[in-house]
């Protein structure tokens, strides 16, 4: 038995073959099978290449679609924003003449060296807080009847210009068309009348009519009202007020 074990060990170690094939052993797969296997192998790697290409295209198509949608969405959004930012309509005379209230600004008292009176605090200015009024504080033209009968805004009393004689010197040299710094007593009746009627008088829309109305007031002896209208007219028509012949 030990001899067989030795043989088996030799067999395992390939030191000795129990059986051997002859030199003319021709047992091998048919050529047809070889062709089939090799063709299959070739087709496999070729189809693999095709799959990669198709996979790349399949991956790129959604990406291209997503990019196109993103660009289109961006364009649409941009166009919509641009439309929203466009002005509503052309500016009309009525729109320009509409009353607009501006926020109050602090009064600035500039001491003037050549005018001691201006340096001293004024009693009336201390009594009445300074008010800011723009040129449209008294609306010039009513847009419609609703505006005409509408109650004045809360800021209107403060914004009403005060053009008393004592307050005339309070108007600073830097007064411009939009802001007038006024300090003093409440407005006179004539000015209130002007302010009250400024929004309703149709003749104020035309300069010639306005001037004719002023002349009519002077003819009737209503000089105060005529002066107030004239002042308002000058304020509205700066070219007229600033012309060298005036």
């Amino acid at each position: 038995m030990s001899g067989r074990d030795d043989e088996f060990d030799d067999f395992l170690a390939r030191r000795r073959k129990l059986f051997r094939r002859p030199e003319d052993d021709v047992l091998e797969p048919p050529h047809e099978v070889d062709r089939i296997v090799l063709r299959q192998a070739r087709e496999a790697i070729e189809s693999r290449t095709d799959e990669r290409e198709i996979r790349g295209m399949a991956w790129g198509a959604p990406l291209a679609l997503a990019a196109s949608l993103l660009v289109a969405f961006t364009i649409i959004l941009n166009v919509g924003m641009t439309k929203k930012q466009q002005p509503l309509a052309a500016v009309t005379v009525e729109q320009v003449a509409q009353r607009r209230d501006y926020p109050p600004a602090p009064q600035v008292n500039i001491p003037m060296a050549g005018n001691p009176a201006s340096q001293a605090p004024r009693a009336d200015s201390a009594a009445a807080p300074p008010a800011i009024a723009d040129r449209s504080a008294a609306p010039l033209v009513a847009e419609n009847e609703a505006d005409r009968h509408a109650p004045p805004p809360p800021a209107a009393p403060q914004a009403a210009p005060h053009r008393s004689a004592g307050a005339a010197d309070a108007v600073t040299a830097g007064e411009n068309a939009s802001t007038v710094i006024v300090a003093g007593s409440p407005p006179s009746e004539a000015e209130r009348a002007v302010a009250k009627g400024s929004g309703s008088a149709a003749w104020r829309r035309d300069g010639a009519s306005w001037l004719a109305e002023i002349q009519r007031l002077r003819a009737e002896g209503k000089n105060a009202e005529a002066d107030a209208e004239m002042a308002e007219y000058k304020r509205q028509h700066k070219a007229y007020a600033g012309s060298p012949d005036r």
């Binding site: 067989r4 088996f8 067999f11 395992l12 073959k17 129990l18 059986f19 051997r20 094939r21 002859p22 030199e23 003319d24 052993d25 021709v26 047992l27 091998e28 797969p29 048919p30 050529h31 047809e32 099978v33 070889d34 062709r35 089939i36 296997v37 090799l38 063709r39 299959q40 192998a41 070739r42 496999a44 790697i45 693999r48 290449t49």
Partner: protein, 214 residues
């Protein structure tokens, strides 16, 4: 087979004996590298790999199935699995082990499909070239005697249990070690060694008895 190159006809493959000698000298790492190269798309690498292992694999399958038609089908199936699994292939073991594992599994699947196969089924005469290496192999034999020896060998092989025949053929055809055979067949090394010992003993006994009878 129009459109096939001469390399596909199989004519460039070396004689099995020559190929077997060459396989013994080929490093398994080289086989693994060839497989990886094929996975990258190099057809030439597969052709080299195929030429190295085709004959041994075919003999294993023919002697397992004992039918060349079945062996041809199994042979194609094994290589198909090699081709399909090329991307997932990792050189953890010898390529030869990987190849014969696929072959073993293919044959097991075939047996399961057939459920059972009558022992001693017809043996194709096309592969009747194996001879028994006897002590007197130096003695000149006639073709008739060699054919008779081959017949007896095949008959003895066919009487082996499936597991023993499997281990024996793997040892004979694949040149795998016992550890590798155990891995291919999914058993322990000692189990594989025991099966191989039984198979060799039965073959020797059967051939000796027949020789005595004749």
């Amino acid at each position: 087979m129009d459109g096939l190159t001469t390399s596909e006809t199989g004519s460039h493959f070396a004689h099995p004996r020559t190929a077997a000698r060459r396989v013994e000298g080929v490093s398994d790492d080289e086989d693994a590298q060839l497989m990886l190269a094929y996975a990258r798309g190099e057809m030439r690498a597969f052709e080299t790999l195929y030429s190295r292992h085709r004959a041994a694999l075919y003999r294993y399958l023919v002697r397992q199935a004992r039918d060349t038609e079945i062996a041809n089908d199994l042979f194609q199936e094994v290589w198909s699995r090699v081709i399909v699994n090329r991307v997932r292939y990792e050189p953890r073991a010898k390529f030869r082990t990987f190849l014969f594992t696929l072959a073993h599994n293919c044959f097991i699947d075939h047996c399961r499909r057939l459920k059972s196969r009558p022992a001693g089924a017809s043996v194709d005469e096309a592969d009747a070239a194996d001879l028994l290496a006897t002590d007197d192999d130096a003695r000149p034999e006639s073709a008739l005697e060699r054919a008779e020896t081959t017949r007896r060998y095949r008959a003895a092989l066919a009487t082996l249990p499936q597991e023993q025949r499997d281990v024996y053929l793997l040892h004979e055809e694949s040149d795998l070690s016992l550890e590798e055979i155990a891995r291919v067949t999914g058993v322990g090394t000692e189990t594989a060694k025991s099966r191989l010992r039984y198979a060799v003993g039965k073959l020797r006994t059967a051939l000796a008895v027949e020789e005595d009878v004749t």
